[in-house]
């Protein structure tokens, strides 16, 4: 039963989904690392981006991968605006309130989607949707292969941005020492909003890569938010390498869980890891003490 024939394809499938999870988690861990915001609305924003990609495809015929240059900046702008206007003001900067404000945002976004677009599950059917790449031991769907590659590229770009650009320097400075950054002239509100924006831009990229092999309905945000948090907590809040590794681990766990325990029980592996990490090692694999 547990022979290589089916284990290996399951692992490969898990790695490709895991890469996309990593991309989602990267945004979340950036937001936490810099702003110390536990962004509960992360999953809902992913859901919104997925709908965006869906409608671009069905109404304008734009292929999801080609939609990247549209969706990513749009999500960036949305993130920037949300942080600058809603989150910063409503929470009065109090940490316990930020979680609740982002919860409120997620409720609004999820249910607005439900009201506008109904609970029906939407999928797209691009011509390459069911084609596969033959890896010898397994047939992996083309969209999954592309999303795997895409997620790695995006991670690399993000790393470059943070490590090599001026903005990245400002972000890192702000994350480490807010007062000091302020004193050397960093525009705190602006950089905070930029960080949030970048985090949500990652979500936009993930949506483009995810939709061809996945689906969207208003409840998708809920399920993603926990996966995203699991990856971030597993990898360590604020660590990019952690988010990447964590993404792969969770992706494979989910896939193997589904294979071994069935579609109903399979998800339990992810939550079990989540609870275990929270209880036993809340800093995760690579995180520092918050």
């Amino acid at each position: 039963m547990l022979d290589f024939d089916i284990l290996l394809p399951a692992i490969l499938n898990g790695l490709s989904t895991g890469a996309v999870y990593a991309l989602v988690a990267l945004g979340l861990t950036l937001i936490y690392g810099v702003l110390h915001i536990v962004n509960f609305a992360h999953g809902s924003l992913l859901m919104l981006a997925l709908y965006g990609v869906y409608f671009l495809y069905t109404l304008l015929g734009v292929d999801p991968f080609a939609a990247l240059p549209v969706v990513v900046p749009a999500m960036f702008a949305l993130g920037y605006a949300l942080q600058r206007t809603v989150i910063a003001t409503a929470s009065h900067g109090r940490e316990e309130n930020i979680l609740l404000v982002t919860l409120g945002l997620s409720i609004i976004i999820d249910n607005l989607a439900l009201y506008l677009w109904s609970a029906d599950t939407r999928t797209i059917n691009p011509s390459y949707g069911f084609s596969t790449v033959d890896f010898g031991i397994a047939f992996i769907a083309v969209p999954k292969v592309v999303s795997f590659a895409g997620a790695l590229v995006a991670t690399g770009l993000l790393w470059l941005l943070i490590r090599r650009s001026d903005l990245g320097k400002a972000i890192r400075a702000l994350a480490r020492e807010r007062r000091g950054a302020e004193l050397v002239g960093v525009d705190v509100d602006h950089v905070y909003a930029m960080s949030f924006g970048i985090g949500i831009a990652c979500v936009g990229a993930a949506a483009c890569l995810l939709l061809p092999s996945y689906y969207v309905h208003p409840g998708v945000g809920e399920s993603f938010v926990v996966i995203a948090f699991t990856v971030v907590v597993l990898g360590g809040m604020g660590s990019f390498a952690g988010a990447l590794l964590g993404g792969f681990i969770i992706g494979v766990t989910e896939s193997l869980g589904g294979l071994l325990l069935g579609e109903n029980l399979g998800r339990i592996g992810v939550f079990a890891i989540f609870i275990a990490i929270l209880l036993l090692r809340p800093t995760g694999l690579f995180g520092q003490r918050a």
Partner: protein, 407 residues
């Protein structure tokens, strides 16, 4: 588009219920207006996990209401028209039950619909609390009609009949081909209908010489069948037997095609996508040769074919949800005619005594026992030449079974 003679109103809670409330506070009795219409609640899951089926169901029911009103309404009630009060069950039980309560408040004489077994089980019970006669449109779980509820009526068969027919048909089809099929995997959705059907299949299949390797369950919705198909690939059963709703059925078939898993047959029992023109049209390669034991109309009856044409002219596929709901609504209209009353108890009596023969289903004589029409029959179908053909029983068949699937 035909001119509408009926009015369909969306339930507005605060509106009529609020008015009723004011009346309740001000005066103990609510005066009923002279019945120029008979109110019938029509409830279906038009959004959520089974929304395609819900939407099709509603269309079928409303076409019937249109027809009844167009031919003069309920004559024994002085030409009263049927007023359909439509609501959305949202594929959720708690929502559906709330809608039943609202129907009671609105004073409906009967309720039709539900579609999904898991919804029907709760709605029939909620309606029973208020003595409202309830005609189940599809809901194949046999517990719906064996729970002792005297208000519940189902014209079409339950999964007991389907499994029985499917198993004996499979035995015959297998025998005619020299018994190439010896093993099977059942894939089912995890709510009432799927679980019940799969349970029965697992019990009956060994009796015809087929070993069931595994029974795999999945939730509705499930949007990735990679793992399930991997399991099927590893076990190599001769037949795969799905029992689920439309979206999952289609995805399973397509994933199997994608992963090059080709069993000797996909033989579904109440397969959600199997006998569906939508599936055949959109994914002909995946649908080719799939066999199904399902609801179907009598292909030799002109009224059935006329409704098919009319449905397709509306831009809809002629699916079982459409003709079952049409039939169920007509059954109710006939009962209203014989009851000559809009009182719930009289309508229930009329339904229980019904021998209605004015339908186009391939059934025996109508007779209700404990709410189930004992004349109801299941039929075997197969997708051939991008069309759905009846392969069994012989009296309605218009094609021969192709088994095993050509390599």
């Amino acid at each position: 588009m035909p001119r509408h003679h009926w009015s369909v109103t969306r339930r507005r809670v605060l509106g009529s219920a609020g008015a009723a409330a004011i009346a309740a506070i001000a005066a103990p009795a609510i005066l009923r207006a002279q019945a120029k219409t008979v109110k019938v609640g029509i409830i279906h899951p038009v959004t959520g996990g089974v929304s395609y089926s819900g939407t099709q169901s509603r269309a079928g029911a409303l076409m019937a209401v249109e027809d009844v009103n167009a031919r003069g309404g309920i004559k024994s009630l002085g030409g009263a028209t049927i007023e359909g009060l439509i609501s959305d069950a949202q594929s959720k039980v708690d929502v559906a039950v709330s809608e039943i309560e609202k129907y009671n408040e609105a004073g409906v004489s009967a309720i039709l619909g539900g579609y999904a077994s898991f919804i029907c089980m709760a709605t029939t019970q909620a309606a029973a609390k208020h003595g409202i006669p309830y005609v189940v449109d599809v809901g194949t779980d046999d517990r719906i009609v064996s729970g002792g509820l005297t208000n519940t009526f189902r014209f079409s068969p339950g999964y007991g009949v389907f499994v029985g027919t499917a198993v004996s048909a499979l035995r015959d089809i297998n025998a005619a081909a020299g018994n190439p099929a010896k093993t099977a995997i059942v894939v089912h959705e995890d709510s009432a209908f799927g679980t019940g059907t799969a349970g029965l299949l697992a019990k009956e299949l060994p009796g015809i010489g087929i070993e069931v390797f595994e029974v795999i369950k999945h939730p509705t919705p499930t949007l990735d069948f990679s793992n399930i198909v991997l399991t099927i690939k590893a076990k190599k059963p001769d037949i795969v037997i799905p029992a689920n709703y439309y979206n999952e059925y289609v995805l399973l078939a397509r994933t199997m095609l994608q992963q090059k898993v080709r069993p000797k047959a996909i033989y579904s029992v109440l397969g959600g996508g199997a006998s569906q023109y939508k599936f055949v049209k959109e994914f002909p390669e995946a649908a080719q040769y799939i066999m199904d034991c399902n609801h179907w109309y009598n292909p030799k009856n002109p009224a059935a074919l006329a409704l098919k044409k009319r449905t397709e002219e509306k831009g809809l596929f002629y699916t079982y949800e459409v003709f079952l709901n049409y039939t169920a609504a007509m059954l109710l209209a006939d009962a209203l005619e014989r009851a000559a009353s809009s009182e719930r108890a009289k309508i229930t009596e009329a339904l229980a005594a019904s021998t209605w023969a004015g339908h186009f289903m391939p059934y025996g004589p109508t007779k209700f026992e404990h709410g189930q029409n004992t004349g109801a029959r299941a039929v075997n179908l197969q997708v051939q030449d991008n069309d759905i053909k009846v392969i069994l029983p012989a009296e309605f068949a218009n094609a021969k079974p192709v088994f095993p699937v050509p390599a």
